[in-house]
Symmetry: C2
Subunit: 380 residues, 2 copies
C-alpha cells in the first residue's frame, strides 16, 4: 500500500472525528450548518472546535481558539473541517481569511459549501498557497449538511421519518402488540434522534396506541437540555381531561395540528388552558395541510429539525407529499408471517409496481441486532 | 497511521481477493470447502490458486504450482489463504507440510478450520518457524465456509433463501403485479446466486405465477456450464402437457417434490415420461417433509448448495422448520402502502411479538439501488 493510501485512510478517520464534533452543535446552529474542525500535529489531534450556536464563531475559529489556549501553533498543523470555510462576511468575518492568517499550510475539507454566497473558501486558500484536499469522508460530511441544504432551499424544517418494522414490514401483531420490535440499541438510537431535533411529531393513532411522552431519555444529557416540542396531528382533538402523558407532563411544549374547525372548538379552548398550542389547517387529501404545519413550526417555534415517528397513515401522507427528507427504518430480524399483522403503511391501492412511491437508498448499517436503512428523496 | 495498520488494510484487501478466487471453485468442491490462496511479493500478487474440485489439489497446492510455473520462489513471498491449511492426509497429503516445504515464511489465514480432523495447520506452521496471522477478513472467510460447516454437521445441503420485497415487505401489488420490484443489479445477483448452487427450488404458487425456467442467465458462463436442477414443491402435480417452461425446456433436470400418493399417480407417470423426477414425501405441517426432500437431494443428486426462491408460504415452511441457513433479502426503495398487496410471508397468526420467528442479521450492503440484507439462523 502506497503512502498516499495510508494518508487517505488516516484523513478519513480524522474527518469522521470532525463530523462527531460537528454533531455536538446540532439544534443550536440552525439555520447555519453543523460544522466540526480539528488540528492535527504529528498524527495527534491537538485542537478541536465546532459551531456551537447561530451567530457565534464558526468551527474553524473555535478550533483556532482552542489551539491558542493549548499553546499550539496552527502553522505546524494540518486542519480538518467538515465544510468548506466560508468566504464571506456574514454574522462573522470569513473563516477562509482566519485560516490563512493562522498559518495553516494544509487543509482537508469534507463537503463543499452549497451556499453560493459563502462558497469559494477552498479556492481562496489554494490561491494563497494552502494545500487543500476536498471530498474527504464526503458522504458523512454531505449527510451532516443535508438539513442545511433544505433550509437554504425551502421554508420548511428538515424532516426525518423514523419507523421500526419486522423483516416482513410489520409494526405490530394482529392484536396490536409491538413491544418490542426493535432491539435495545435501536431504541436508544431513537432517543438520540429525539435529542437532535426541535420537534417530534406523531399521528392520532400512535397517541392512542402508545400514549408516548416523546422526550429524549438518554444518560448524559445536560441539565438544561431542552426537550423537543411534541406535535400531534389529529382531526379530532383529545379531551383535555384524558390520561394523555403529553397533557399531564408537558402540555406547554405540546402542539396539536388539527382542522380549522376543530381549532376553534371548546375542546381546543380547554387544551389551550392546559398550556397546549392548537393550530388549525385547511384539509388536504385524507388529512390536513402538513406543509403549512411544518412551515409554521419553523417560523413560529424555530423548529429546524423535526422527527416524525408515525404511525403509518401519517407517515404515508408525509411521504406522498414529498415532505420527508430522510427516512430511517430499523428492520428487526423477525418475521411475523401474518397478513393480518399491522403493516408499516396503509391507505394506498396501487395496481402495478410503477405506482409505488420511489425513494433512494442512502445507506444501511447494523443497529445492534437490527439493520438501519436510511432512505432519502429520489431526486436527491 | 502506524505501519502495522497499513499492513492490516493491505492484508484485508489481499485476503478478499483470495475469497474471490475461492468462489471460482464453488459447486465442484463439495463436500470440501471453497478455498482460495495467493502469494504476494513486494506488494504484488505473483501466484494464485483455488480448490477446483473435490479430490483435486487444495488451494495452497494450486497456488504453489502456479508459483512454480511463473518462476516465483515462495520463500520470497507472503502467502494468503482463506482457510487454515489442512494438517492431515485425506484425499491429498497435508497442505501445512507443503507450505512449510515451499519455504513460505509468513502466512495470513482467514478462517480457522472447523473440522477437528483437519485442523492444526496454523499451529504446526508456527511451531516450525512460520509467522502466522489468523482472522484476516474473518467475516468474509467465515461466510465462505458456512456451507462447509453445515455439510460437516448434517446430511442436508446448505440452503439459501432469496426473496425481494418493497420497503413495506410486499412482493407484488394486490393484482399480483411484481415486475419489477428489485433493480437490474439485484436481478443479476440472483442469476449469480443460481450459478453457484446445484438446485433451485420453488413452490407451486411461484410456478403458476412466474412460470420460471430457474436457470442462471449470465454473460461469461463457460460453454459446458451445468445449470442447477429445478425443484418444484407441490402437493398437486401439474399436467404434463401444460405450458410449463421447466417441462418444455428442461424436464430432465426438473424434480417434483409431492405427496406419496401423488408420486404414484398417473400424472406422475406422465411427468416421468417427459424425463422429470417425481419424489413422494410424507405430509408435515401444512406441506410435505422438506427435510427429507433436502437430504434426498444431497444423497441422490449430489446437491450441496440449494437456492429457495419462494414463494412466501414455502419459504415460511422452510424457515419454521429451521432449514434455511442463509436468507438473502433484496429490499427495493419502494413503498406500496397497501395492506392488500402481497406479503413476503403468510400463514402464521402470532398474537405477541415473542411469537415472531427470530433470525440473526449477518450483514447489509447496497445492491444497485436496493439493499441486500443477509440473515442467518439465530443460533449462528
Amino acid at each position: 500500500m502506497s503512502d498516499s493510501n495510508t494518508r487517505l485512510v488516516n484523513a478519513t478517520e480524522l474527518m469522521l472525528h470532525a463530523v462527531e464534533l460537528a454533531k455536538k452543535g446540532r439544534r443550536h446552529t440552525a439555520p447555519n450548518p453543523s460544522v466540526g474542525a480539528l488540528l492535527v500535529q504529528d498524527g495527534a489531534i491537538v485542537a478541536e472546535g465546532w459551531h456551537k450556536a447561530y451567530g457565534g464563531p464558526h468551527a474553524e475559529i473555535e478550533c483556532l481558539r482552542d489551539a491558542e489556549a493549548q499553546g499550539v501553533n496552527p502553522a505546524d498543523c494540518t486542519m480538518f473541517v467538515t465544510l468548506e470555510p466560508c468566504n464571506h462576511t456574514g454574522k462573522t468575518p470569513p473563516c477562509s481569511k482566519a485560516v490563512l492568517k493562522a498559518g495553516v499550510k494544509e487543509l482537508y475539507i469534507g463537503a463543499l459549501d452549497p451556499n453560493p454566497v459563502a462558497q469559494g473558501g477552498a479556492e481562496f486558500l489554494r490561491e494563497n498557497g494552502v494545500t487543500v484536499h476536498t471530498g474527504i469522508a464526503k458522504k458523512a460530511c454531505e449527510s451532516l449538511i443535508a438539513d442545511f441544504r433544505i433550509w437554504n432551499k425551502t421554508s420548511s424544517p428538515y424532516v426525518i421519518l423514523k419507523l421500526a418494522s419486522t423483516i416482513d414490514g410489520k409494526i405490530a401483531t394482529r392484536t396490536g402488540h409491538s413491544q418490542w420490535i426493535s432491539c435495545e440499541e435501536s431504541r436508544k438510537a431513537v432517543h438520540r434522534l429525539r435529542a437532535g431535533v426541535d420537534a417530534v411529531l406523531i399521528g392520532a393513532g400512535t397517541l392512542r396506541a402508545d400514549n408516548p411522552s416523546l422526550d429524549a431519555r438518554l444518560e448524559g444529557l445536560p441539565e438544561d437540555f431542552e426537550q423537543p416540542l411534541a406535535v400531534v396531528v389529529t382531526r379530532r382533538l383529545p379531551n383535555s381531561e384524558s390520561d394523555i402523558q403529553l397533557l399531564r407532563r408537558r402540555a406547554s411544549s405540546t402542539i396539536f395540528w388539527t382542522t380549522v374547525a376543530a381549532a376553534s372548538s371548546s375542546q381546543a379552548k380547554a387544551l389551550r388552558e392546559l398550556g397546549c398550542r392548537v393550530w388549525g389547517f385547511s384539509p388536504q387529501g385524507k388529512g390536513i395541510d402538513l406543509a403549512a404545519g411544518l412551515e409554521q413550526l419553523r417560523e413560529e417555534c424555530g423548529a429546524y429539525r423535526v422527527l416524525c415517528e408515525g404511525g403509518g397513515v401519517l407517515a404515508l401522507n408525509f411521504l406522498e407529499s414529498g415532505l420527508i427528507d430522510e427516512f430511517r427504518l430499523f428492520v428487526a430480524p423477525k418475521i411475523l408471517g401474518d397478513t393480518e399483522a399491522r403493516d408499516l403503511f396503509s391507505g394506498r391501492s396501487p395496481l402495478t409496481m410503477d405506482e409505488a412511491i420511489q425513494l433512494r437508498t442512502s445507506e444501511s448499517r447494523p443497529s445492534g441486532d437490527d439493520t438501519l436503512i436510511i432512505y432519502r428523496r429520489e431526486a436527491g
